[in-house]
C-alpha cells in the first residue's frame, strides 16, 4: 500500500468526525441501564418487527421490479433512456414527505389511480401495504442505480461468447450476466434495504401512524421523542443504527473485496 498524502488524510479525518460525531452524541447520552427495559416494551418490539417486515418486503419488491429495469437501462439502447433514468432516480432527491404527498395524490382514495383501486377494495393508505409501497418508492432507486452500474461493468464479450455458443438470451442472462453482476445486485439490495429501514417521511405522510399496522421503528422513535421519552428514543435509534451498521460494514468489505 502506498503512503497516503497528508492532505487527503487530514480531510478524511474531518469527514469522519463530521459523520461520526452525532453518533458519538447518541452513544454518550444512551441510558444503558434502561436499554433492556425499553427493548422489552411491547410497542417497541411491535415497531421493530413491523420495520423488519416492511423493509424486507420493500426490498423484495424492489429486486423483482428493479433488476429488470436496471438490465433494460444498462443493455437496451432506446430513445428517452436518459429521461427514464432521471424519472426513476427522482425519489432519491425528492424530500420524502413530498414523495408521500405524491403517493397520496396518485394512490390515495381520491388519487388518479387510487380511486379505481379503492373501488376494487384495494386500500393502501393506513395499511401495511401502504408502508411497504412508501419504502419501495424511496429506496428502489438506490438498487436500480447500483445494479445498473454492476451490469455495465459486465464485459459484453462474455455474453456474446455464450450467445455464439448457442445459449438463449434468458440462459445468457441467468448463467453469465447475473452471476457476474451478483456482487452489485447484493450491494444494491442491501443499500435499498437500509434506506427502507430508516424511511420516515413518505411513510408517515402516505401510510399514517398506527401501532401494529404502519408505525415502523423510525415513526415510533419520533413519537417517543415527542412524548418527552428521550431515553426510549435513543435506545431504539441505536438498535436501528446497530443493525444498519453491521450490514453496511459487511457490505463494504464485500464490495471492495470483489475485484
Amino acid at each position: 500500500m502506498s503512503r497516503p498524502p497528508r492532505t487527503a488524510l487530514a480531510v478524511a479525518v474531518v469527514a469522519v468526525v463530521l459523520l461520526a460525531l452525532p453518533l458519538a452524541g447518541l452513544l454518550w447520552r444512551a441510558p444503558w441501564s434502561e436499554a433492556l427495559d425499553v427493548l422489552g416494551r411491547h410497542e417497541a418490539r411491535q415497531a421493530l418487527r413491523l420495520s423488519l417486515v416492511t423493509s424486507l418486503a420493500a426490498t423484495a419488491v424492489a429486486v423483482v421490479l428493479g433488476v429488470p429495469l436496471a438490465w433494460v437501462q444498462a443493455r437496451v439502447d432506446y430513445p428517452g433512456r436518459s429521461l427514464v433514468r432521471g424519472l426513476t432516480t427522482l425519489p432519491m432527491v425528492l424530500p420524502p414527505v413530498v414523495g408521500g404527498v405524491a403517493l397520496l395524490l396518485a394512490l390515495g382514495r381520491r388519487g388518479i389511480a387510487g380511486e379505481p383501486l379503492d373501488a376494487l377494495g384495494i386500500h393502501l393508505p393506513f395499511h401495511l401495504a401502504g408502508a411497504v409501497l412508501a419504502e419501495t418508492f424511496v429506496a428502489m432507486p438506490f438498487l436500480v442505480l447500483a445494479v445498473e452500474g454492476a451490469l455495465r461493468s459486465v464485459d459484453p464479450k462474455l455474453e456474446e461468447a455464450a450467445r455464439t455458443l448457442g445459449a438463449s438470451p434468458w440462459k445468457v442472462f441467468r448463467t453469465v450476466t447475473l452471476p457476474l453482476a451478483r456482487p452489485g445486485i447484493v450491494a444494491g439490495a442491501v443499500l435499498c434495504w437500509a434506506r427502507a429501514l430508516g424511511e420516515f417521511g413518505a411513510t408517515i405522510t402516505f401510510a399514517g401512524n398506527l401501532p401494529g399496522e404502519t408505525q415502523t421503528l423510525p415513526l415510533f422513535v419520533y413519537v417517543r421523542l415527542e412524548a418527552g421519552d428521550t431515553d426510549a428514543a435513543i435506545v431504539l435509534s441505536l438498535v436501528l443504527l446497530a443493525v444498519s451498521l453491521a450490514v453496511l460494514v459487511g457490505l463494504r468489505d464485500r464490495w471492495i473485496g470483489v475485484r
Binding site: 497528508r6 474531518v14 397520496l104 382514495r109 393508505p125 399514517g208 418527552g228
Partner: protein, 235 residues
C-alpha cells in the same frame, strides 16, 4: 493543505454563529396551531412545532426569546425547570370534528366517530391536540378505532382535506385555516375540553425583546389577529 482545512473550519464556525445578529427582533417558538395568526402578527422570527418539541428545544438551550404552547402542561414543565418567566394565557381554542365539505357522511356529534364505516384519524396522544381529543372522546364515552395517530394536529386535518379520512378531531382554528376545504362540526358543550394557550418570556433569551412581543400579543393588535383566526380571547 492547511488553507483548505482553515477554510472548512471557518465555514463551520461561521455557520454556527451566524444568523442571530438582529437585535430587537425576538425569536418566538410557537405551537403548530398558532402558525397563521402569528405570521399575520409578525414582528418576530417564528419557529413552529408541536408543543412537546418546543419544550425540548427550550430545555436543550435553543436560542429563543418567547415560547407559546398549546397547553398549560407543556408550559408547566418549563416553569418548573426555571427556564421561563411567569406565563400568561393569551387565547383559547375549541375542539371540533373536521369533515369533508358538505359533510357527506352526515357526522353530527362525537358519538358518530364510533361508527364502523368511518375512517377517523386523530392526533397522537403525545401532542396536546391528541390528548385533548382523547379526553373529549372519553367524556363522551365513545370508542374510536382511529386509523392513524398523526404527529401533529395539522397533519390530521390534512388527511381530511386530502379526502383520505372522513373525520378528524382538531382545533376550530385549524378548520378555519383550511379555507373551505374542510368543514367543522361542533362538539357538544358537555364533552368539549378547554384548550388554553400560555405564552412566556424565555429566561435565557433577550428578555426586553421578548416582553415587547408578549405585550403586542396581549394588546389590541394581537387580540384582533387572534379573533380574526377564530381564537377565543380572554376578556
Amino acid at each position: 493543505m492547511r488553507p483548505l482545512v482553515l477554510v472548512v473550519t471557518a465555514a463551520l464556525v461561521a455557520g454556527c454563529t451566524g444568523g442571530g445578529g438582529e437585535t430587537g427582533r425576538p425569536t418566538v417558538l410557537a405551537a403548530a396551531s398558532l402558525t397563521d395568526v402569528f405570521e399575520d402578527l409578525g414582528g418576530a422570527r417564528f419557529q413552529f412545532a408541536g408543543s412537546q418539541a418546543l419544550v425540548r428545544q427550550v430545555r436543550d438551550g435553543a436560542p429563543a426569546d418567547v415560547v407559546a404552547t398549546a397547553d398549560e402542561a407543556s408550559m408547566e414543565v418549563l416553569v418548573d425547570a426555571g427556564l421561563v418567566e411567569t406565563p400568561v394565557v393569551f387565547a383559547r381554542n375549541e375542539l371540533v370534528i373536521a369533515v369533508e365539505p358538505g359533510n357527506p357522511e352526515a357526522i353530527d356529534a362525537l358519538d358518530d366517530l364510533g361508527r364502523d364505516d368511518l375512517l377517523v384519524v386523530l392526533a397522537d396522544p403525545s401532542v396536546p391536540a391528541g390528548r385533548y381529543a382523547a379526553e373529549a372522546l372519553r367524556k363522551a364515552g365513545v370508542e374510536v378505532r382511529a386509523r392513524s395517530l398523526e404527529l401533529d394536529v395539522r397533519a390530521a386535518l390534512t388527511k381530511v382535506v386530502a379526502g383520505e379520512a372522513d373525520a378528524a378531531v382538531v382545533y376550530a382554528t385549524d378548520v378555519e385555516a383550511a379555507d373551505g376545504r374542510a368543514e367543522a362540526v361542533a362538539i357538544e358543550d358537555e364533552h368539549d375540553v378547554e384548550v388554553r394557550y400560555p405564552v412566556a418570556v424565555v429566561a435565557d433569551g433577550d428578555r426586553a425583546a421578548g416582553r415587547a412581543f408578549v405585550q403586542r400579543l396581549l394588546g389590541e393588535r394581537g387580540r384582533r389577529a387572534l379573533r380574526d383566526h377564530g381564537f377565543l380571547v380572554p376578556a
